[in-house]
Symmetry: C2
Subunit: 362 residues, 2 copies
């Protein structure tokens, strides 16, 4: 039997207090299943990015639903996930520096990792770490096709890195890592076709061709040659995913339960969740977060522990002590500030789970 | 003998890796001393806000330098600070809800707290918690004089709350909490004069009249009747404090050491510190953070673990593997995402200290 949302709010305020990061496991499971099905239908493997949840429990749920492995953004995240028994891991960033090299080496000794690079300096560091681990590292070359973040900008540069990898006995070429812009899949295809042709000349094969991003599920499978997709946000969704049309409010598994703690003005109020809970990251949207109970209320400003409510357009204004649920603009950055998530099902508290891989320095 | 900054960078990359939150203890001590002297000169007591550093060690340093107590923004922060032996604490927020009431009660049993309220609902919760603790709670009434955050907007409302406190055997009236806007000190004085006159009629006295904010050090002492000041950011300073003219670059004790991990374009680069380290909170400034080694470089965008460098105006462009130091726009929100801070002196690593009071849910 399903509890009411009021009963859940009473339990949260009784057992935890606000602000409180809450995830609905039914919605989480539905979201995991949806991402897996989107990948299955497109004929690419699913390698979720765990940066969104940083939870070993949720990573295991993704694996159990059919994921072939996971993607991490930090070496420290990979360590935590490896400790939890997950063995197929891509670390999707350039890993540099002595302390990290030592850690990388130690982890590579335990299990064969897949790492990424977009420059020769990183490749040198990888070769050194692999040699120390006495096990060659699988390296993907990160390619930029318009996002202008990490990633080489031309097929020629990509192939040059592949060649360096080929010549290094401590490195194995594993494939290509792409993050196509939403409107850049055609360009990504052209880029991919060129590097594929070049690979044949090098007598190499790309075991992995990875695309990324939750909004990119719209285009999944469009890149001919892609073998897998890595997406993070889709496990929880957020206001940005509603905005791009990927999710509806009911697909948002993560909500911050927060109390109205002040109503000092007729048309304004204060929540006990501010930028240290909901994040100042607007994701390009106006205002911060969507309030389920008062969709017309606007969170227009933050102090660190206070959300500033504009209630002008709100007919039914909340009172001091009311608990409201907020879907943040960008869930990944919000979860990153919490040490635990409260899990619920049918509006009943199930557990509190640690955000195990948060706070990793490197 | 002083190490070079290059030696410090080498130690950081060797022992910790990047990104790494680093504080220079000499600068911290100088900043603590400066805040104390500003208060001493103005004839008001110093009650630093620990939301910036959340470290029991740094709170103790502030106490040793002359602070009469501390300010916390969350009950959980107060618990951690009380465990560390700090006994004079103002919690500067409305504390509501059963779980928090229970915690408040337990803490109030251990030491007499000072709490804040701007509405009768909160006062009821406080009375209940105090009764359970069998020790009356000292309550400050929070007054808003223009910031439009928490705080009653009129002297009449403030006095009404003082009267409710007076009539409740479990509550003691402790004074007024102000956060004057930079240009609102005159209005704050008028507000204060009115509530002071009204207090006499109620036969009450304000033991504490608190002003707040690091930028407000410019006006410290201007409020006739003020007894103490609470400021947080001044212990570290940041780009916002440089912008308002309170600090110079050399007053910024907190710097994020971060590596250039990608230089895929001629005029761009990628840092391994993004919104999960430096915070998306712009503080109203253009760009995110000031790079000491490359003042002309702009951090114009963030991914979660990547800072996007615009190097157009940079003659001496950094290379992959270079370590640079970034002063974030808003230090409080950056520190809040880290589990530890590396302390240094004379460019030598001293220790790594926990951000003990971070991650407190309530």
């Amino acid at each position: 039997m399903m509890n009411t949302i009021e009963e859940l709010k009473a339990s949260i305020i009784e057992q935890f207090g606000t602000p409180c990061g809450v995830i609905d496991l039914d919605v989480v499971e539905r979201n995991i299943k949806r991402a897996q099905e989107l990948c299955d239908t497109a004929g690419v493997a699913n390698r979720p990015h765990i940066k969104t949840h940083k939870s070993t429990l949720l990573a295991r749920m993704q694996m159990d639903a059919g994921a072939i492995g996971i993607t991490c953004q930090k070496l420290g995240e990979a360590e935590v996930m490896a400790d939890a028994g997950i063995t197929d891991i891509i670390i999707a960033t350039n890993i540099l520096g002595a302390a990290k090299s030592g850690k990388l080496s130690a982890l590579q000794k335990r299990l064969p990792l897949k790492v990424c690079a977009d420059n020769p300096v990183t490749l040198q560091a990888y070769a050194k770490a692999a040699k120390a681990a006495q096990r060659p590292l699988d390296v993907l070359v990160e390619c930029d096709t318009g996002q202008k973040r990490a990633g080489v900008e031309t097929p020629e540069q990509a192939l040059k890195l592949a060649e360096i990898i080929k010549q290094d006995p401590d490195l194995d070429f594993a494939g290509w890592l792409f993050y196509p812009p939403l409107n850049g899949w055609q360009h990504t295809q052209e880029f991919y076709n060129k590097v594929s042709a070049g690979l044949a000349d090098l007598d190499l094969e790309a075991g992995i061709v990875s695309t990324g991003g939750t909004p990119n599920f719209t285009h999944i499978g469009k890149l001919e040659g892609a073998t897998e997709h890595r997406a993070g946000t889709c496990i929880f969704n957020d206001r940005m995913m509603i905005d791009v049309g990927f999710a509806s409010v009911s697909d948002c598994a993560y909500q911050v339960f927060t109390s109205v703690v002040s109503r000092a003005g007729e048309t304004r109020g204060i929540l006990d969740a501010g930028s240290k809970t909901l994040t100042a990251d607007t994701g390009g949207l106006a205002g911060y977060g969507y309030i389920l109970e008062h969709p017309a209320a606007r969170i227009h400003k933050f102090a660190e522990e206070h959300g500033f409510l504009d209630l002008q357009d709100c007919n039914d204004k909340p009172a001091v002590g009311d608990i409201v649920r907020v879907i943040p603009n960008h869930v990944c950055v919000s979860v990153n500030m919490l040490d635990q998530l409260v899990t619920v099902r049918n509006n009943e508290i199930v557990d509190a789970i640690p955000v195990s891989a948060r706070g990793m320095l490197v």
